[in-house]
Symmetry: C2
Subunit: 222 residues, 2 copies
């Protein structure tokens, strides 16, 4: 029986590379995607589906979480707060969704336990990810411990975060090496047709491609 990995996949570049890496490591993939009423929800789901199709992944979970919409108070799900476009600033940005990765990991852990997966993989990037506290490796390691304490004794889940100490440029380079379908990925926080190029997520992505010396295959507004 092949070893199974639950991979949290947003449809973005980072989690798509994680998927490529896990496939490269011979895991059978269980792909998990979250719709949480984020601004680019439809585009992200489309990209998730395209990437799963590209890799012939047939075990997928698409989880609808109305919760963050109900909670409000962040720029990704609350349409009354603008997504910043003037450059990446210090500190926790308004696009921070309270404990989002904690919630995603908890739900994915539940799936992993049910499916008998030994690995849960997430594409957090510590340094390059504009100050989100739930992208730190100390947090992810602690969640791994919590998940193993809070599931059955015979359940053992390792959380892999293979990108946590990479820069966006290294992510671009590795993705090209592993033939990750970057043209199918989406990173923009605010648009669904052409990427805006000026939100934090676009800026980090574009800068990564620039440093890696590669042209980004997706289309930008300007």
């Amino acid at each position: 029986m092949s070893k199974k990995a639950v991979v949290i996949m947003s449809g973005g570049m980072d989690s798509s590379l994680v998927c490529s890496k896990m496939i490269d490591d011979a895991y059978e993939i269980i792909a998990v995607h979250f719709n949480y009423d984020q601004r680019t929800q439809d585009k992200e789901l489309e990209c998730f589906n395209s990437i799963c199709k590209h890799y012939n992944i047939d075990k997928t979970y698409v989880i609808d979480l109305d919760f963050f919409k109900q909670l409000g108070a962040n720029a990704l799900t609350d349409r009354s707060i603008d997504v910043p476009t003037s450059g990446v600033e210090e500190g926790v940005p308004v696009t921070y969704v309270p404990f989002r990765n904690g919630i995603f990991l908890s739900l994915a852990a539940s799936i992993a336990e049910k499916e008998g997966a030994e690995v849960l993989a997430i594409g957090v990037v510590q340094e390059d990810s504009s100050g989100y506290p739930d992208c730190r490796d100390s947090f992810i390691k602690s969640m791994e411990k919590s998940i193993n304490l809070g599931t059955k004794d015979e359940t053992s889940i390792e959380i892999k975060m293979p990108l946590v100490h990479l820069s966006k440029a290294q992510i671009v380079s590795e993705a090209i090496k592993l033939k990750t379908p970057l043209e199918l990925t989406w990173s923009c926080y605010q648009n669904e047709d052409k990427a805006c190029g000026v939100c934090d997520s676009c800026r980090l992505r574009l800068n990564g491609f620039k440093i890696a010396g590669v042209k980004d295959p997706i289309i930008y507004e300007n």
Copy 2:
């Protein structure tokens, strides 16, 4: 400004006592309830609403989680698996929902961070709760650490679990002492009109009342 506590309240006896205790400790209550397509969802929500009304709690979150239904594989949300009625057995029961309390705590932590609550309270009971791994105090303590690592640096959340080492009889006695409205609570896993009296949850509740020497105010089938 009063100190705030997010209290996870199922509508059951344990979490209602937790609520009474937090009110007794002068916390302003933010009550959180989860609909997760459990068999007695409507009754539990009705009890939650009655208890909030009883205590004049006006800050409430009712979270709809389709997730466990989608996941299946447990007797509380999967109607193809019977709720056991022949007595509490050793080990993890089929009513175990994978990592349920981990998910509940993660969602409640997100609410606590947004609302600026310093406490998150949950009515887990370690010994008396028929073998659920996510009711152990070691797990809850670990989640507390994870939550504080995965939220903003200025966010500090203490998880209180005041019942964790109590027996059901002690819970009944304390609830009566604090005037918890036990007549408004529901514990049965399978019925919504009259409690069955024979599922694990009814058995543990009835046994608690018996040892405490008190009559349970809710109505049973037999």
